[in-house]
Symmetry: C2
Subunit: 343 residues, 2 copies
Amino acid sequence: VARLIDVAKAAGVSRSTASNVFNTPELVRPKLRQRVEAAARELGYPGPDPKGRLLRAGKFNAIAVVAPADWGVAEALRNPVFELFLRGVGESCDETGANLVIVSDATGGGGIKAALVDGFIFGRIDHLNQVEPARLRRLPFAVVDFDPGPGISSVRVDSRAGAYAAARHLIDLGHRSFGILSFLRSLGPARVHPAGRPRDPEAAGMPTDQEKLRGYSDALAEIGLSIDDVPIVQADPWDREAAQMMLDAAPDATAFLSMGVMHALLFLEEARRRGLVVPRDVSVVGYNDIPDAARSDPPLTTVDGMGVEKGRLAARLVLEGGPPRHHILQPQLILRGSTGSAR
Amino acid sequence: VARLIDVAKAAGVSRSTASNVFNTPELVRPKLRQRVEAAARELGYPGPDPKGRLLRAGKFNAIAVVAPADWGVAEALRNPVFELFLRGVGESCDETGANLVIVSDATGGGGIKAALVDGFIFGRIDHLNQVEPARLRRLPFAVVDFDPGPGISSVRVDSRAGAYAAARHLIDLGHRSFGILSFLRSLGPARVHPAGRPRDPEAAGMPTDQEKLRGYSDALAEIGLSIDDVPIVQADPWDREAAQMMLDAAPDATAFLSMGVMHALLFLEEARRRGLVVPRDVSVVGYNDIPDAARSDPPLTTVDGMGVEKGRLAARLVLEGGPPRHHILQPQLILRGSTGSAR
DNA sequence: CTGAAAGCGCTTACAG
DNA sequence: CTGAAAGCGCTTACAG
């Protein structure tokens, strides 16, 4: 394959001049320029090799979203909520013409060490040492849905407030008996936490989910209910069993709080399967808003988790660099048809 | 920032030895190795800089999906069918630990020229010269849903057969009056092609859509119908007007063929809005299968466009390199509830 | 406007 | 097992 020096030689000019033809053509006399261009064409030279250019420039014009360690690239693209987030990142990329790299963190930081990007976005971490490889490389990075302290850029949603609003909404409708659908920390089989036992702190998945648990707890406390008395089911987003276990674990509950949107959607299906009419018999409010949530039957009352916005802001933070900054987004309850007055 | 040579000096060894410590530690005497590692830690050396390593190795361990020119990164992540395709690419990436880069082709090949990847997947092209920048770089690449001739790797779906099956299905149900929902070649306002005029070849969007038109035409010809007599509406996937225009343009049709899945789903909604019962009053079959298609009311009869599989195979093709190869996938009709006998 | 030179950070035969 | 040297392909002050 032809290199810059080859076309320079063929055109009888120095490397610098050839380089200029491709990078700052206005600095080169038209005649010389044409000679170089002709030589390039003849040799099939595809333009300066990004490898060399990049070693010099040190810039990749790309940012990475690191996929959760246990997910891989495919799962990241399969999860509708994460996908919303990716789309937000994509929007910021489009603004600056940057490429979007999805790096798998499956190898425990190996991907991050080698990724050819100018910065990182961590979309789902549960421990700060996952960002170490990025910090070591002295590349800008931002963390999402996790409080990294003041020294690291972050975009967070006030999940506690969002969850509080969800629970408060159900309380205001007169509900007094609840069930909670929660996540696991990592992929695995569903687990039930029956009522009446103190909650172990692992009853919610990621830190942001634990915040949600606090939000629910805050609201329940206002009417004298303890979260310890509310059955909780932890399950993967796609787990169809979750809804069944929930309904079995809280047969008398009239109101269900879901930390995810898929859980809530599947719950709607399972409720119908059991002959329950939503929201006449039971109410459910989800968390996060995906297109499906507006199309379900009935449409799902849910919290807008600001996924796209999170992605957009996180990407800006790393694209712009500079000192650490923090965004805290306020989620908003979207009232739709899956919640109604208690019987 | 510390470089390899800095830690080498600090540890009192040569660059090669320091390099070995990070790349082939088993070649270095433990004592020396520890000395180097200590020096690295002390200097905060993050390990070999990918830039340098890469210039040497020439490998990026990443492949690019180039987003359609008029889309950008965000739109690519927003389109559910393209998203299916991306997921397939992601699966192959996970198998080999490669990163997935979404490069925007908005700058007319500029992104491709500079992308730091080992190969390209073109997921949506309508002219072969869009792959020129990749060919010039002498990087492996594959083309999807487009016949590039034998010299270029490709993954295609036999859309003509898929469309034929869709149309034949409706014919077998006794339908004789049709409407077709088609795509535009590039984003824009919807267009109607009334019945009775010869079809201009642009009545479908991408080449693969034109294949679908042929498939419909094949089937219709078998019962003596000309495609020229079938109203066609071209519109963007998200265009809610498409269904309205279709129903207005073909008020007596009982069967509708949609080249996309979103069109079909929106059609279902519009039909209901007009008081039409599907499939009692009208039948519709879509093209491509996304999760929503199974959840719609009624569930959508559609053609499985093999999106994930396409992505997976295309990625393999470029990851493996080698001589050009071709996959032709056979789509399959998925029978669900949106089609029934003609009245 | 043009060219000689240094350098971006690393790895890999090669000789010892 | 260790080190001196060449090279990956390019760009950018700098001097002319």
